[in-house]
Amino acid sequence: MFKVFRKPERLRIYLKQIMSEIDSIGLNSVGIVAIVSVFMGAVLTIQMAINFVNPLIPKYLIGLSVRDTMILEFSSTVICLILAGRVGSNIASEIGTMRITEQIDALEMMGVNSAGYLIFPKIIAAVITFPLINLLSIFLGIIGGYALTFVTGIVAMPDYLYGLHYYFIPFYVTYSVIKMVVFAVIISSVSAYHGYYTSGGALEVGRSSTRAVVYSIILVLFFDLVLTQLLLT
């Protein structure tokens, strides 16, 4: 891990790598995140509408519940579990394949700090893109719920919109973004670690990839608990 954060040999090359990783880790994940977020928002709206049957509970709380659930948990933790699968396995298998085909040894032989060159840009790219993906997911989840109310009329649209505005706590967004930054470091570094220390052949690359996803998910859930306890209580 110490080698990852050594001074880069050539900053310009690292910046180029970071841009390339932002594309690979961030932009390429936007599609799946968008689909999942829209459907999560829509499904949440239906579930809230079904459960809020007591006439004493105002209907606008459906919009509020969808908003807060998306912000507090779904757009950070659930999206990160999906990203652990998509990005984590990608990072582990990419670096693992480079290891078994001696590309990492080739970098070392050139005098390049292979850990820094391969892992550092991925961590930075994840830290930059994950919070943006988080904000996008929150927005699309709320839009998903809004679209559902528009199509099905399960909740009156003015109620839903009022709920979205009602009792908004900006710190919840900050909390969500903080979680996303921590999860970005966990997913990228754990996956890169498992890829970097792959040995053997193609089978081991697959195993490293699986281990990377499993460990990332466990750590994401653990730190979700820790951060929630620290930041919200």
């Binding site: 050539r10 085909t101 001696e102 590309q103 040894d105 080739a106 005098g111």
Partner: protein, 251 residues
């Protein structure tokens, strides 16, 4: 000059190299030969520092490499070029980007100068009009030659080749062998080639070290091989009927 003094290496308690000493001279093709599993790749990777050694010393000129710190090791590595058995080209980079990577990392050249140097190295290994192709789009022989171009792009003092002919047809093997020899003589490089290719041994082996069961079993040049009475060396070199006949004719 590379000097290896009494190096030993073991993996999880299993000793692979036993107290090996050797000297590799500049301007000569120094070959490490031996059966598969004899420890020659471990020996080569121990010399270049990809495997840590349990005991012994490796010297590059008057600099001790085996106990060097991170910065010193990196400086020595920039004087080395290593051609891996599988080429180890970066699959996501084009041929030109592969060869240019060390220049991008460590040289102060302008982009035009870098391209000129890359083209010079590619032409030196007889690769033309393939700059923008990816490794997967070129043949195995071309990949090996690109790997050699990448290894020489920084004007190395030391060139290491791990089985450069493996998986190649005899004609391409000869091309690669001749290229290694030409580069060695032309730039007075200390070249160390790991091989079990008999043609290569007979063609370009100036100084040969035979590794048997992790030990430096025999040392000499290609003409001395024919007169050697070393049983294990003879069993390895003259395993085929053709080479037995050649030995008889030579004697």
């Amino acid at each position: 000059m590379i000097t290896v003094k009494n190096i030993s290496k073991s993996f999880r308690g299993k000793q692979v190299l036993f107290d090996i000493s050797a000297e590799f001279e500049p301007g000569k093709v120094n070959q490490i030969i031996g059966k598969s599993g004899s420890g020659k790749t471990v020996f080569l990777k121990s010399i270049v520092g990809l495997h840590g050694i349990n005991s012994g010393e490796v010297w590059y000129g008057n600099r001790e490499y085996s106990r060097a710190g991170f910065r010193e090791k990196r400086a020595i590595r920039q004087e080395m070029g290593l051609v891996f058995q599988g080429g180890a080209l970066f699959t996501s980079l084009t041929v030109e980007e592969n060869v240019m990577l060390p220049l991008n990392m460590f040289s102060e050249m302008s982009r035009a100068e870098k391209i000129e140097r890359v083209n010079f190295c590619l032409q030196r290994v007889n690769i033309v009009n393939a700059n923008h192709q990816y490794p997967a789009e070129i043949s195995g022989g071309m990949q090996k030659r690109v790997a050699i171009a990448r290894a020489i792009v920084m004007n190395p003092k030391y060139l290491f080749c791990d089985e450069p002919n493996s998986g190649l047809d005899p004609q391409t093997s000869i091309v690669i062998d001749n290229l290694i020899r030409e580069l060695t003589v032309e730039y007075n490089i200390t070249t160390v080639v790991n091989t079990h290719d008999m043609n290569s041994i007979m063609e370009i082996g100036d100084q040969i070290i035979f590794i048997f069961e992790g030990k430096n079993w025999w040392q000499g040049n290609k003409s001395e091989i024919f007169n050697s009475t070393n049983q294990e060396l003879n069993d390895f070199v003259f395993a085929s009927k053709l080479y037995k006949k050649i030995k008889d004719v030579q004697i």
